[in-house]
Symmetry: C2
Subunit: 516 residues, 2 copies
């Protein structure tokens, strides 16, 4: 007899991560110092793990606008846009966003996630959606909620996209949907080629500009402005939880399409509207985005500084041309250890592990605010260098040369930086060492490589053992073998040795605790 | 060659509704006077179309809490709960809600809609979900996003539910999902019987308490508290945009289940978290919900007053036992006319038409706040009576007797009031007069009935003609026949006469405008 809840009870990853001290999620922020620094567990850390690109969430003008809206309209609209949840403020924001984005109309929706779900309303049973494989989860879900046919193309692979378009029923309605900036790797979609293909195959184009609105283009209007293709991009989506210092999303395009979505999208008509505070914050942020282009300039300068700073140390920041600066680590456990060391040294960044990236391509994702000071950024770079050397991610001495980053500044039209071999292999899923290292593989390694592997393994095990708490160990009692199965990338021999070492320590800990 | 956007361009309902002056949606609120009255188009109206049940959105303590949170944490968390979007405030709200709801754990999610989508994460390919046909759209979408099998049972039909449970693969994981209070008709799910069936067939139970949390039960904990079945209800969901004066949702249940959802639900991990202001508002609202039971008492007193007030006039408020007070109108066009007349007389209520209800069962949905004054409520009743008589929804003189309403007060265990024949037929979809009235049907009518139909039809047409503006008519030029197809419930003869009348006026209007 099965139970819907079984899968929850049998899920051990959480217990293991907690027990090994390698649990990096849901860190509670206790206080904020201008958004660039926050307090966690009583410690002040530099925040480089936020999407608050322009730093406006702490801007006094934005805060004041939100406060005034609460005073005037209360804390909620208590209903959907369709019925009782529309304020004149919603309409004002929609009108200003339509104007800002050079589109006939715009609709604002309670979250960015639900904004992408709203796409479902215009996709019919006979339509075909062409979707980049690395598109955001909310786009994937929006397409799943429709009855249209989905065709996924390999990330930014225009030949694959063309192939799928050519194979599709010519009479069907078609739309190509893509992130403008991809959130994990920081590269841009190939909008110029997408627009060409769309014209040729009679398809519509939609971009998710969550990470580019407020960031890319001379006026901050996002990917299509950056490429000079606003007219050719039929629908543009943005979120307010990034540059706009709020919570919500916008979809802009032709009046008839937006109006249809307004009345038909289930994530619009069956959900309470954006709060007065969130609407007012987004309105004020939009005003600042338009009035202060120097914030975008500063943000892109920071992006360049950080990419090059990391690269000069020997880190690989991959293909990104934006303020999303991912740092390749590789192994998942090492990535968690890197995160933990950053946390302890006072830097808040996010570990990104499979399935968000390919196995063997775990990375630390950093992202920046226009309001970060150079002192903060230099401190982040220093800490990364120290930890990177300690964990063998970068060499002890800086490389003599590095390839400087290219940044997607207004006036340029680049998609990405050239990926290193390692990065390309990681993105393609070729770095995963499944099933550990065989003796044969070990025999082909240089002694230096073997020593490196040994060092890594011992350090990991020691670190884990040192970090284990009696209480954690008791919880771990259920699943120690599972832990090692999961960490199977370690060579068999070392794994066995490590397990003995670990278990001996573990057992002691458990027993001493049980005597209490 | 098809185009994804064709369906938007060809959609005429909006143009028709606008052209006929019968467009009731997206009414922009320009100012709020303590939430019970709002300003629209420069006019002050009494709000009885909100889900702000306890009136807390305008409570000075709630507003102050939201403002302080903005001051301390800014206007957004700029990221997902999983990564950088968790404040200590989120954890505090979760802990307090778990305690309040008598559950091991709780998770708060950015919107109520996304809270129900999160259900998808615990539904596997081999699970079966039993779902009431009138469940909220977000539950429907949450189930659709999962890979589980869905079995819909007829609204509150426990025999049908049992039949489906008995037919299901015995070894499969099972969960019964139902609204606690159904949002359109205001009746309760048959939780006592659902719980019995769940035990017998080894199924889990989840209730969506969007409209009952803060409202039902002695402590306001919702449907399961009301029925004394909290232990037996495995998962409970609530929204903050109703009694909690905020935007967001909560899911509470066993620790392992909630923890799994926390890490796996796409609507949690891929969406920005609740804003500081929204979290703080919900926290303060929870405190008030716990401390001030008199708000619930007042709300239920108001519900009783309004139900009985309407009933005494001859209106049908159906099966509702809650502060959701639907007023049966029947015909969709008449419902829009009723709404329009309410709006003009200073009452904000919501017309509910197919597909939200069955054809022929259009209704005006009213709902109340604990903070409504008796003077406001009496005025609403007076206005309903005047319009109801004018539009022939109620007789010219009050009926001598009416069946007083039963209200789901603490201590009772009722599901619904007894439906009138008309109401039951409406809910079952038996009121729709598809294809108009035949001559044969007409011949069987009393002369009084025929006169009534004639009067209605002439009044509708006159009213429409009077409300047509030259500009609307120009837009309407594309689709006049479509209008009449849609309004096919009118008898053929009258329809034809009306169409001539209408077209003559319409054509004149258009021509005079074109000369400008």
């Amino acid at each position: 007899m099965s139970d819907v809840f079984d899968k929850c009870r049998n899920w051990k990853d959480y217990r293991i991560a907690k027990a090994t001290g390698l649990y990096p999620y849901f860190r509670a922020i206790e206080a904020s110092h201008g958004a660039t620094e926050v307090e966690i567990e009583g410690r002040r850390v530099i925040m480089v793990g936020s999407n608050n690109y322009l730093g406006l969430s702490a801007d006094p003008r934005v805060k004041e606008a939100a406060i005034k809206a609460v005073e005037k309209f209360g804390t909620t609209c208590s209903g959907s846009r369709l019925l009782n949840g529309t304020l004149a403020l919603h309409e004002e924001l929609e009108a200003k966003l339509a104007k800002f984005l050079n589109r006939e109309a715009a609709i604002v929706i309670s979250t960015g996630f639900q904004t992408n779900l709203a796409l479902a309303s215009i996709l019919g049973r006979h339509d075909i959606v062409f979707s980049d494989r690395q598109n955001h989860a909310s786009l994937v879900d929006g397409i799943r909620l429709s009855f249209a046919t989905e065709r996924k193309f390999r990330h930014n692979d225009m030949d694959h996209l063309e192939q799928l378009l050519a194979q599709a029923e010519p009479g069907a309605g078609k739309i190509i949907v893509t992130d403008g900036v991809f959130s994990m790797e920081g590269d841009l979609c190939n909008l110029p080629r997408i627009v060409e293909l769309a014209k040729h195959y009679n398809a519509r184009v939609m971009t998710d500009d969550a990470h580019s609105m407020g960031v890319l283009g001379e006026k901050g209007r996002g990917t299509s402005e950056y490429f000079g293709l606003e007219k050719e991009t039929d629908l543009v989506m943005g979120t307010f939880s990034k540059s706009f210092a709020s919570l919500g999303g916008v979809l802009a395009g032709p009046f008839e399409v937006i109006n249809y979505i307004r009345h038909k999208a289930r994530s619009v008509i069956f959900s309470a509207s954006m709060t007065p505070a969130s609407i007012a914050a987004a309105l004020k942020a939009l005003e600042i985005i338009e009035a202060e282009p120097q914030r975008r300039e500063r943000l892109l300068d920071i992006a360049e500084k950080m990419h090059n700073g990391f690269r000069a140390m020997g880190f690989d920041t991959g293909v990104s041309v934006t303020p999303v600066v991912p740092v390749h680590i590789g192994d998942q456990v090492k990535c968690f250890r890197f995160w933990r060391a950053l946390h302890e040294a006072g830097v808040f960044a996010n570990p990104v592990i499979p399935p968000a990236v390919e196995a063997g391509h775990a990375l630390i994702r950093t992202s920046y605010m226009a309001t970060h000071t150079d002192a903060q950024l230099d401190r982040v770079l220093d800490i990364f260098e120290t930890i990177g050397r300690k964990l063998n991610v970068i060499p002890e001495t800086r490389p003599t040369v590095y390839e400087p980053v290219k940044i997607a500044r207004p006036g340029t039209r680049i998609l990405s930086n050239k990926a290193s071999e390692k990065w390309a292999a990681g993105s393609a899923g070729l770095l995963a060492e499944k099933g550990g290292i065989t003796l044969e593989q070990l025999s082909r390694m240089s002694s230096r490589e073997v020593a490196g592997k040994l060092f890594d393994a011992v350090e990991q095990l020691t670190w884990r053992a040192a970090n284990l708490q009696p209480d954690d160990l008791r919880k771990l009692g259920n699943a120690p073998m599972k832990l090692w199965e999961k960490r199977g990338e370690l060579p068999g021999l070392l794994l066995e040795k490590g397990a003995h070492f670990f278990m001996r320590n573990g057992t002691n800990g458990t027993q001493s605790e049980d005597r209490n």
